[in-house]
Subunit: 674 residues, 3 copies
């Protein structure tokens, strides 16, 4: 990519009156150079089956091309038109709650031949009209695709075929691995396979979810194949991968295996939404960016992020700009808002765009104007930022799903559902603490083969994992790596079958601990050398394994009348490396102390700065080191600049080592080392 | 009406043994002069299809006629007999949750021909037997009618016909107004019209609810037409209109347009239930009474209110009497309890009547005895109280429904559903503050043409309104009126399409403010001249618009690092009038300060008394001013009597201006000016 | 029984590898002498319809027989195989939420002929293979049977037949008793009988639940009849009756009438699960044991209780042993764990057995080892403990169900559902207070004829009761008994029809009080002689009747401005006895004061010891008094031994009257009087 993309989704279809020329004018003024169009607009593009009307698409391309604005074409398939559902009611996904009712997007069965037939036809028609256009720089296939709980008869029959293949038609193997004998769930003939939606067996349930995730991979690569038939070589294929949604982008997407789904893309894209105002921390921008960048180990596109967003997110002065540079600091080459204008009807009326409903310049637009013009001025210094991180976080869809089932399986009052704590809470606890310490990291997956590239690997709650992966992790330590693994790691195999070996199974070797009981902590403190006396709130949270050190150094023990003899956190030297085990969830300060105790030995640098000052770095196309300084607070801060002399790009001033950087509230500095 | 009606619903059908003579004796002793019968008793009146048995009705009429007690006949149609559902299962309404199961009342499809066929027959049979009876003074058609969520195929097909008419068969117009292009919901052929139950489009959803409300109008006027064929001229037709239910009568009924539904009635009726014991404030009695009185701008009937009510409502000494006079003080000519005796089975066993299950005289009955005899003695002074209020509150079903959709559209955590705040919360915040200041008011509706009759109009959250209404409101101010409008007013048109003009749209003229952003307040204080230093709890709540005064006087601004430059509450002089805009929800004291700042200029009197002393007034049939003094507290209070000399009716003593009135705990005084 | 049974459920079917010999070895070491097998394993025993494979059962019997370990055979019927549901989807129960989906156990219609056909065949096959085996000491029919909400057409048609019989085909009688006239629910022809699942009539609803409970009785006795055809005379038939589940065994099982269901058993069995760690109190062990022992007034089997249980229940040191002896102290002859080993898949993976997933000796196993060897050594002193208690608690399924409907009928906010308080909360409030005072008791039921055997009878919330029972309770007092009845007692008859007599109906005589109103207390204190000044938290809770003493002594009155003239707790002398009425729920101290005020007069001994020291006693097979001293606390306590000289069995030391017993944390002493 040659320039930073700055833009917004644009819907000519939703306009209350003809705005196109005025909008282009306002875009140009604000430095916007890219729009995404057509996504979700099926009922406009194909008003009746086989009758196409791409006039909105055409006129927007015309206008943008004339104005020199790039266009990304989104296929319109993530919301189905009324005529399709009226004629074929069963294109709506049948989930555990039955078949849905027409209305929302993302409610169809993405495996249904009727849906696929119509989807293919409209994509081809759209491609024919857009692929050759100069302004069109790439395509987004579908939008935020998931499997929407699809679990009808057709899907379940595919699942049985999938299992027959996985188990080589060996029912005994399936019954054994999934433990189906329990509560008479044993399947003694393939034709007896029950409705999987009611299963109480976590192995079967998790496998079904894994299978459902493959439907997303297949659907996206099927779309990408069609697009590939038409697109020019210089045009990209992307998709906006999203995250577990907790009212904002929170963690690993449970319903999509990002690594697999992104294989068919030429560049990874994402949408990142996050709290703002007093709750803006930059964490989701960093987390989402680090994860999406790691998929292809390359720069990525932020295809959607909030402009004004929800009414509760209306940004404070400076925040929109801080956010934009934070995306770049993670390696994004593109920042696009959802969306240009606020819409006047329907369920996202208050997911507000750059412009409010009145289309006037407002405070948010005026800040975009600053950003857009800075991007244009500084783009060549900021585009294609490359990173080389020492730390990786290992994430796993399988572990996420399995840990959810673990929560379902804890049926005691208070404990059920792990006290509301899921996989992503553990992952974010480990990631966020690194973020706040300014230790940058990549993400890796169970399939990743580049373990040795990292000085340290952080492993949150890898509850389900194949032996093969555990062996590689053990080997990684032996080879000199630093492993920091949390509770629940290595407990079950990839089929969510609990190991009948002493825990933590294969990792027992490198970790130098074992345990045969665990519980949920109630008023259990932590004590030990790394626990600061000042941290009186140090306690075991939610999870708690009763560790017995087999040679490992005990970093912290439990403070409790009955559990005081057990270790809570240990560190073991093994081979050329070290391995840390954290047997319970803790407060942030305790985890920080663990990181500080072990990362330096792994030769990982821990900067002096910490949140709310965030420092992120990389190398630009000019081969120079770029360092972003981000003030995630409402107060002005002063910080010493401790790096090589360089130039602050935004204000175009030189900065010397040891000088003081003034960081305004919600402010940004970007220093390019000389 | 010549006398006050005092009475109870009476169900001979539910008696465990023959009580009729004993009950009539106890009624006479307590001064009860009216009973309502037959309502809900279909399965007794028509035990098998076409087989009628009105013996309970006949014997009660005989006994009441002999005793000189009036009878109101309720048609029995609000609960269907088992035989009807057994033979025609589809008379049960199909709602968004599917078709119901027999059991509760109010679960049928009030548009279903089978239901209407049987309903008409039983009403005609009942009318034949009752209309000519001397004791029968009027009829209640059905009971607390709503549409019960009915949304089956037949109802949806009617809805499409209704839309074709509304939009003159112009689908483009419909798609445009409702913004259906969003998420591919565009309807390109009428036959593609989707199941509306799943819609995510607030415009379509709100229109369907408006359509469903018309079903209630049609059903009630259909019943009234039948009754009209039989009834004598001196007999009335009424209905008990009820309110949004929050465990008690709370606000505007979302499922009925009271103004439209009451057109077929000769006198408005209502039921009002409210908390009691420590939570008795009189607010619901005043609110419900003011609203129902305003429908026909005339006196009304309280057809149901609690005697003992729920176990948690067992009244304290004096409360039953205080309540009864509070109804009269709002203009009621009738106070009837639901119901005479507590029933011994089924789901309202503990909605207790005047008598407990043992039928003995109890504390509540003994207080009714006092009331009944006072009513008889003072009736000619109290009946037909007429009011002339200076203030009106504008309420709108359309705004209520649309604001509910606004809540659905705010999807951010914490903010979704407007923090639990709906239209009626805003309306009650504005109404209740007036009530506690003893500023009496009427209600008006979007269709009301008597705006100029009022010195001030209070407009809570008129989120959806046609331009025509906004123009009239603007004109009202220009003509000299005082308008007090809250946040969200004028935001969308009658089709819940957000205006693309600068907000607050047409009212910008009279209000002298505009805004293009809004948010939800978090720890945002209020500051300004009208904000008392003593009111340290003054803060913006739930809603918060970032107002920019265009000439308006700023009564209060936001206290917040980022929002401090925006106005919160403004007042503007426009034409001969003034217009106040309140950009955020506030505590009661702040709103009181706003009222105090602007109502005197509108020449609206604000009495010295305030809650817990409530003062309500009117003119009686003798042309004299009647003033009720109501002590809504558990302590005895003394208050100066600041009006013309008069006579306290209950104790038959003269009262002079400047004298002290002793108000016992939960006590009442009624002064007739000389 | 000759020896204490100590054991665990054992599932060879669920093993990840062949463990049988190793397990037997570990069992023998730990003193385990009994296993329960085959329960729930239908899909393993009968892999395809009519194809049987009992190899797991056979090989376990072989191994156990060789090792001298007893076997209890459980019929496998409480979870159905996939093939049955695939072929006959309608064997799954249709409940008020529709028909279920395959997966969980306990979801079939236990009246369905298809299910019964297959169940009978597999039971017969199992019996043929097991009944003659030496090691097999008894059979458990099904497991934790309930009716699973079954309410399909077939079940409802049976219900109508049941009602026709109950009411001798007299519909008027049914309509009268159930009060069906209300809301037009009257049934005027049997063929009009509506779907009972939607009923809003508590009488009809409660009767249906009572009918559904009879399905459990019929199902279990049908299984017992089959087993009886095969079993030897020395083999028992049992069932594990369970309790209302609130994450642990809480109270009377709503879905089973234990007294009726246990008639077909030769010995009562149960499962008792309870909180542990800091929340271990022994209450559930005592409550469950007292109730199950009372069914047949004989010793009983604890067929399941937790070893490690949920992760949150991992026992503290000493707790497993304390629990085991607490079961014996209630009269259990058997303590069996669910289960031997923790399972590696499915939804009870974390309901952990004696062994963790790694099968190693762990802390819990090591404590079982101590228990097992003590049981073996002391069994003849501890087995067949007989009790003679002075106090009985009267419980009733009908009252439980009816009070649930009472809660549904209180529709006011906050009060609905009785503030979350159900029948079992009241029962446990009255039982638990006795437990903590070390007053041991039996349970009795409405049908029990042994009232006169008790010095005092405690009656919690007997909201629904036939007159016949109330007459007997009144007579019991007249004859010299002490009755302690709570609020809500005697309010409705057995058909949940509220009495139209003055309350508390027939018991008014012995209680010497009446009331005609009641409410829910809000900040209502209690005052009176028995209310200690120190107990400032004494207040009326949830329920509150406004009592008027008719000769009864007032033990406590309400402290409240409006209710101060009403009594809250009264005691009346009547005939040769006394009767106490508690008109409101209270804190524990107040109830304790009531017990202390009246039990001594009834000649019931109240020990000096109280919780956390629990003392339980009985007579052993040697005719000697055995007394258990249980320390339910985490601290060591010293207590004086105030009984006759004896021998402490566990430590084999003599104990003299007046000596001090040292009670370790979670410790046990057992003294056999000389």
């Amino acid at each position: 990519m040659k320039e930073l993309l700055y833009g917004a989704a644009y819907y000519d279809e939703y306009m209350p009156y003809d705005r196109l020329d005025k909008d282009v004018e306002m875009m140009k003024k604000a430095g916007i150079n890219t729009v995404r169009i057509a996504e979700s607009t099926w009922s406009t593009c194909e008003p009746q089956p086989g009758i196409f009307d791409f006039s909105h698409v055409e006129r927007v391309m015309d206008a943008m091309e004339a104005a020199g604005i790039n266009v990304i074409i989104g296929t319109p398939t993530y919301a189905v038109p009324t005529w399709m559902v009226k004629a074929h009611p069963d294109v709506l996904a049948e989930t555990v709650r039955g078949r849905g009712i027409y209305g929302a997007r993302q409610i169809m069965d993405i495996t249904h031949p009727v849906y696929l037939f119509y989807a293919e036809r409209v994509i081809r028609e759209l491609m024919k009209r857009t692929a050759h256009r100069k302004c069109v720089i790439g395509f987004q296939v579908d939008n935020e695709t998931k499997y929407y709980g699809t679990a009808g008869k057709n899907v379940q029959e595919q699942f049985v075929k999938y299992l027959r293949e996985k188990f080589h038609d060996d029912l005994d193997a399936l019954n054994y691995e999934f433990g189906l004998d329990y509560w008479s769930n044993r399947i003694n003939a393939w034709e007896d396979f029950p409705d999987v939606r009611g299963t109480i067996n976590g192995s079967l349930g998790a496998e079904f979810e894994k299978f459902q995730r493959t439907l997303v991979d297949r659907f996206l690569s099927w779309q990408a194949d069609i697009v590939n038939e038409y697109k020019r070589e210089d045009q990209f294929i992307t998709h906006n991968l999203d995250f577990e949604w907790r009212g904002f982008s929170y963690g690993v997407q449970p319903d999509v295996n990002h690594l697999h789904a992104s294989r068919c893309l030429t560049i990874a894209g994402t949408d990142i939404y996050h709290p703002t105002q007093d709750d803006l921390t930059g964490t989701e921008i960093a987390f989402g960016g680090d994860l999406i960048r790691s998929l292809k180990q390359d720069n990525y596109l932020v295809l959607e992020t909030e402009a004004q967003g929800f009414p509760g997110w209306t940004p404070y002065k400076g925040q929109l700009r801080l956010q934009a540079y934070s995306h770049l600091a993670s390696g994004a080459n593109c920042v696009m808002y959802w969306h240009w204008h606020s819409i006047h009807n329907a369920c996202e009326t208050y997911w507000k765009g750059l412009l409010s409903h009145d289309f006037q310049e407002n405070a948010t637009y005026r800040e975009a104007y600053i950003i857009g013009n800075e991007f244009a001025r500084l783009g060549e210094h900021l585009v294609n930022l490359k990173k080389k991180n020492d730390v990786a976080v290992l994430v796993s869809n399988e572990a996420l799903t399995a840990l959810k089932w673990f929560g379902i399986q804890n049926q005691a009052p208070g404990a059920a559902g792990n006290g509301g704590i899921g996989y992503n809470d553990v992952m974010r606890w480990m990631y966020d603490t690194l973020y706040r310490m300014n230790v940058e990291c990549d993400f890796i997956w169970p399939e990743s083969e580049n373990l040795d590239q990292y000085k340290a690997i952080v492993v949150p709650a890898l509850y389900a994992a194949p032996d093969e992966l555990l062996i590689r992790l053990n080997q990684y330590v032996e080879n000199g790596g630093t492993l920091i693994a949390s509770f629940k790691t290595a407990f079950t195999n990839e089929n969510v079958k609990v190991s009948h070996q002493v825990q933590p199974h294969i990792l027992k070797n490198c970790l130098g601990v074992h345990y045969d009981q665990f519980t949920f902590p109630k008023k259990v403190g932590l004590t030990g050398e790394i626990i600061s006396k000042k941290n009186s709130s140090s306690e075991a949270k939610v999870f708690m394994e009763l560790l017995v050190a087999d040679g490992a150094e005990v970093l912290a023990s439990y403070e409790h009348c009955n559990w005081k003899d057990y270790a809570a956190i240990t560190r073991n030297h093994y081979g050329k490396g070290q391995a840390v085990y954290i047997g319970c969830m803790t407060d942030e300060d305790t985890l920080k102390a663990v990181y500080k105790a072990v990362l330096p030995e792994a030769d990982v640098e821990i900067p002096e700065y910490h949140y709310p000052i965030i420092v992120r770095k990389g190398t630009n196309d000019l081969g120079k080191t770029i360092r972003y300084f981000l003030n995630y607070s409402a107060v002005e801060l002063e910080m010493p600049y401790e790096y090589k002399n360089g130039e602050e790009l935004l204000e175009n001033t030189s900065v010397e080592k040891g000088a003081a950087l003034q960081m305004p509230a919600w402010g940004v500095k970007i220093v390019e080392e000389a």
